[in-house]
């Protein structure tokens, strides 16, 4: 199993939640202090360099118009880290393809980062969370269609080697595509895609041999989705199937239980960030059947349970893994059993007011005292070693 360090690069100082309707989408940017922003960007990038030194891989993402995530351009962060790190794989999870103006630009950016990093890029694509449609103005009923058309176009641009090709799709028209550079990895960087509830889409991810990633969901739900992926995986070797399955919990490792609990409460900040209800469920983002339940009052967004319950519940569910190194290892092991195995552990180890010192302490304890045991217990079979994520 491979482990990845992740932070959304939050801007932690929000106004009192009672005084603003939402910290996402509509929080006025007068609350952003660029001097603090400069410190934060440099700090978070430093933490990724530390992850590289510690032998962890690096995951990046992006969001827009939100104080919860200052990384508004994951390819920019990835480009910096491609140059400044030496060992870590760098996974963008992901490029919000549905909300991108031009998939060919994405293909070029990924190819360039892959070359600079000498083949250390994992290129993820996401449909984008519901509230992103307000910043991007993407039609919420078309995000999946755009995601797949964009990915198809991007992969074709990476792999077509004989001069120009044309494309006239539903969302994009291209008269002569012939990208320079091409990716360093052949045929192309591993592709990752996230999902949370749409099984048919997860099966599509599996049928294409892409890596499937799921974030911050109770283990019963994760099992259901991982099973859907496994049913349709194109890989014969179970080790290869497992290698293509990823999960992200919040992770906080402390020297003592008390210290870990303090860290855990700080990273759980992420789940409580206030988002106005209309931003959580724009019309047509989820299927009609979900919205029937929403009208009945039994469904109010994709992450309601994890948003509102405490850290004990989150620990039981595997949404938040925290404790001493032994305890964190046990929770990873238990989760592995609950969900039928997985191969990539993406860890949000920093959120909210978790300071640099605290973050580095938690990361270091994990890397030095938990990761070796994970490598031992859940390592991929030797034949597949070195094949990275795909």
């Amino acid at each position: 199993m491979y482990c990845w360090h992740f932070t959304e690069m939050p801007y932690p100082d929000h106004p009192d939640p009672d005084t603003v309707p939402s910290v996402r989408v509509s929080l006025p940017n007068k609350h952003f202090d660029p001097k603090l922003g400069a410190d934060l960007y440099n700090r978070y990038l430093d933490e990724h360099l530390i992850a590289d030194d510690l032998g962890l891989n690096i995951m990046l993402n992006e969001h827009h118009q939100t104080a919860t995530c200052l990384d508004v351009a994951a390819p920019l962060s990835a480009a910096i880290l491609a140059r400044q790190t030496s060992k870590a794989r760098i996974c963008i999870l992901g490029n919000p393809m549905s909300n991108r103006a031009d998939p060919i630009r994405v293909a070029e950016e990924m190819a360039m980062i892959d070359c600079i990093s000498r083949g250390r890029l994992d290129a993820g694509f996401v449909r984008g969370v519901p509230y992103e449609v307000f910043a991007a103005n993407t039609n919420p009923t078309q995000t999946l269609e755009r995601l797949w058309e964009g990915i198809d176009l991007c992969v074709k641009a990476w792999t077509h080697r004989d001069g120009c090709f044309n494309f006239e799709g539903k969302f994009w028209h291209k008269r002569s595509v012939n990208i320079w550079p091409t990716p360093y990895q052949k045929p192309h960087p591993p592709v990752w895609i996230t999902g949370s509830s749409d099984k048919e889409n997860i099966r599509e991810v599996a049928r294409r041999g892409f890596t499937f990633a799921m974030f911050l969901q109770p283990h019963v739900k994760v099992r259901e989705m991982f099973d859907a992926y496994r049913e349709c995986s194109i890989y014969d070797d179970p080790e290869d199937v497992r290698r293509h399955i990823a999960y992200m919990p919040l992770v906080a490792t402390g020297e003592t239980e008390e210290e870990a609990e303090g860290f855990a409460k700080k990273v759980a900040w992420y789940l409580g960030a206030k988002t106005a209800p209309q931003f959580r469920n724009p019309p047509g983002y989820v299927p009609v059947s979900f919205n029937v339940n929403a009208l009945k009052g039994t469904y109010s967004g994709r992450t309601d349970a994890v948003r509102t319950k405490g850290i004990e519940y989150l620990k039981e569910q595997g949404v938040l893994m925290y404790g001493t190194p032994d305890q964190v290892f046990e929770q990873v092991e238990a989760f592995y059993g609950h969900v039928g195995g997985f191969g990539q552990l993406l860890m949000m180890q920093q959120a909210g007011h978790m300071t640099h010192e605290e973050t580095v302490k938690s990361m270091t304890l994990f890397a030095k005292e938990v990761y070796p045991r994970i490598r031992e217990e859940f390592d991929f079979k030797p034949a597949n070693k070195g094949a990275a994520a795909q």
Partner: protein, 268 residues
């Protein structure tokens, strides 16, 4: 959807689309294009109209129980489907009456082909952009809270209260799908066709534009600008009515519409 005993609902095939069409009453044809919430269809307004007309209500693709193939993407597409329906049903000299989104569809149809349309009545339609790029002509109902939207839509927000918890699933599915289709067709450009404003001059049948004085989603100023683009159109404002003036002030609404329709009947 309706409980009215005289309801006659059929499914009509237009290309690859299953169109739900309801007919009520008898008389000269009045084609009613419902609002995006399918509220008008269930209101007393239809019963009133059915006393003097054959009221024909084709639900637009994606609304009511009409199907919505992926290739249907805009009011432009839908208006052609509705024109196809008029042809297929052989409807002559129809009075075309559209509410809100249905008003926009009616306006699109009338700019394209008037062969089967005798006259046109629009009630608080969307569909055009009046101001410049920085102007919010149509309030962004998807960005606002439910409470804010109700306050904009209704003269008295209490008139917009619907208890969904008691509604059967079949009906909730229509509500949820209507909302999805509305967003699919109207997300961007937001609630308008940039070309429609330049086409309204083609409407050369008698036209009436009715507006709720308290419509906060699209204000009477917007309505007046809309009516001004249609040659000879009358513009009438209903006091104490919001975006659905016919639901909040049915008597005043029928008074205004009645005169216009009486002429239609006489002409037929």
């Amino acid at each position: 959807m309706t409980d009215t005993k005289s309801a006659n609902i059929e499914t009509v095939k237009i290309q690859d689309i299953e169109l739900e069409v309801e007919r009520r009453g008898s008389g000269a044809p009045l084609v009613l294009l419902d609002d995006e919430e399918s509220l008008t269809r269930e209101s007393g307004v239809v019963d009133e109209l059915a006393k003097s007309f054959e009221v024909i209500i084709p639900e637009a693709p994606g609304f009511g129980k009409s199907s919505r193939p992926d290739w249907i993407e805009s009011m432009d597409d839908i208006s052609y489907i509705m024109l196809d329906y008029l042809d297929q049903a052989g409807i002559e000299k129809a009075t075309l009456l559209g509410f809100s989104l249905g008003g926009w569809i009616a306006a699109e149809m009338a700019t394209k082909n008037l062969a089967r349309i005798g006259r046109l009545a629009l009630v608080d339609p969307y569909g055009i952009k009046v101001g410049g790029p920085w102007d919010r002509d149509i309030q962004d109902i998807w960005f606002l809270t439910k409470e804010e939207v109700q306050a904009l839509k209704y003269a008295d927000p209490a008139n917009g209260e619907i208890d969904y918890t008691e509604m059967p699933d079949e009906k909730l599915e229509v509500v949820a799908r209507n909302r999805e289709s509305f967003a699919r067709f109207c997300w961007q450009p937001y609630m308008h066709n940039p070309k429609l404003k330049r086409r309204l001059h083609r409407i050369d049948v008698p036209a009436l534009v009715i507006w709720g004085a308290e419509d906060g989603v699209v204000t009477p100023d917007y309505g007046k600008a809309y009516a001004d683009k249609i040659p000879g159109a009358r513009f009438e404002v209903i006091a104490d009515g919001g975006h659905f003036p016919h639901l909040e002030q049915p008597a005043a609404f029928m008074d205004v519409l009645g005169g216009f329709l009486a002429e239609a009947q006489k002409a037929a």
